[in-house]
């Protein structure tokens, strides 16, 4: 777990929005609605994501009184599963199935609908035999300071996190930038307006 060991690679966010009264109860309900659900191999879905408890990829239960600690910190894990048959594997198994069917039907060729149907059947069979690739990404949100950390720097994971976090908690997570860093540093609205008015500075001499 990146949170406990090794180099910490993460993305910082500022959280926008207001916390509703009794948010712990509401958040637990929202987490359960957006909890991770296993991919159905018979369905046509390659990627699923949702929340699980920190430290247990198979537990999606939370209690309002333990969700957030005394410092306002909430630790969660974003689980992302991908169930995808590698194209080379699929192609080989489809070719084998086509050969068997041609032999069975004593025909040299299969029609396009027959080949399409066969491909879907083979894909389902292979998906049932495959284990999804599991990604566990830790999330630490400090609801007192309005900051969050996602322990990944992948653009796709960052976008997934921002979308799911907003859907779940109604709070927008804005990636760190030269403006949001100032929000935690006592810059008033007036100060920020002044900063926004700055123009880029030249640091080098321009030859006359």
């Amino acid at each position: 777990m990146a949170l406990l060991n090794g180099t910490a690679t993460y993305t910082r966010f500022r959280l926008l929005g207001d916390l509703p009264d009794g948010f712990e109860e509401r958040f637990v309900g929202a987490l359960e609605r957006h909890a991770f659900k296993e991919i159905d191999p018979d369905a046509d879905v390659e990627r699923h994501l949702g929340w699980v408890r920190w430290g247990d990829a198979f537990d999606s239960s939370w209690e309002p009184h333990t969700l957030v600690n005394g410092d306002g910190v909430m630790v969660l894990t974003l689980r992302i599963d991908t169930l995808k048959v590698p194209p080379v594997t699929l192609k080989a198994y489809v070719a084998q199935a086509e050969r068997e069917m041609r032999r069975k039907l004593s025909r040299e060729r299969l029609t396009k609908p027959e080949r399409d149907m066969l491909r879907i059947e083979v894909q389902k069979k292979l998906r049932r035999r495959s284990l999804p690739k599991m990604q566990l990404v830790e999330v630490v949100a400090n609801l007192s300071t309005g900051e969050a950390r996602l322990f990944s720097s992948s653009k796709r994971v960052v976008a997934d996190f921002q979308d799911l976090f907003h859907k779940t908690f109604g709070l927008r997570a804005i990636g760190s930038n030269p403006l949001t860093v100032l929000w935690g540093q006592g810059f008033s609205d007036l100060d920020q307006d002044q900063v926004i008015g700055l123009e880029p500075e030249r640091f080098h001499q321009v030859p006359e």
């Binding site: 406990l4 690679t9 910082r12 500022r14 609801l143 300071t145 950390r149 930038n177 030269p178 949001t180």
Partner: protein, 186 residues
């Protein structure tokens, strides 16, 4: 939540515009950090958090502004000591990303800093003393708070100076002279 956005920036369009408007400040900050540390024996003031030593290490990218930015990526034990990095500064490039070591009072942190976003990347934290998961988590989060606090405080100090022409004008003059003479290497 504390430290939140000002009221008027809740409108997402205006927030995006405002952020884009000052993206350049991050690159200016990293360039100033190099200047500040080099002209003060490697030391930089971090407000109430005290003085920290800043060491640029291994990797430094210098970018030009504009729609098609040119990038010099310098890989060296001390990239700020290279001729390439000094020439890039003279050509008007600024630091886009770098690896640094912050030597604070109690801890040393190795990290990469990106100018456009001020995202902190790949932080090597001091070894946690706790062994139980919950305690270790709390200790590592405290260390992340500490390193972010240092970076944010130094950045805020730079911005306060930068937004006031009286404080910025002498720094601008010294900074340009430093770039022109190719730094203050020993």
């Amino acid at each position: 939540m504390a430290g939140r956005q000002p009221a008027e920036s809740k409108d997402s369009t205006s927030l995006v515009d405002r952020v884009e408007r000052i993206r350049f400040l991050g690159r200016e900050f990293l360039t100033w950090l190099w200047f500040e540390s080099e002209t003060h024996d490697g030391k930089v003031q971090a407000g109430d958090l005290g003085e920290v030593s800043v060491e640029f290490q291994k990797r430094l990218s210098l970018d030009s502004a504009g729609n098609v930015p040119e990038v010099n990526l310098v890989r060296a034990e001390d990239p700020t000591a290279t001729e390439e990095s000094r020439v890039a500064l003279k050509m008007g490039k600024k630091v886009g990303e770098t690896r640094i070591v912050l030597h604070a009072a109690d801890h040393d942190f190795q990290l990469a800093l990106a100018g456009e976003t001020l995202q902190i990347k790949g932080v090597k934290l001091p070894t946690a003393l706790a062994t139980e998961d919950g305690d270790k988590l709390a200790e590592r989060l405290d260390l992340l708070d500490e390193v972010e606090g240092l970076v944010d405080t130094i950045y805020a100090r730079f911005v306060r100076m930068r937004m006031n022409e009286q404080t910025w004008a002498p720094v601008r003059r010294e900074l340009r002279a430093w770039v022109e003479r190719g730094g203050d290497r020993d």
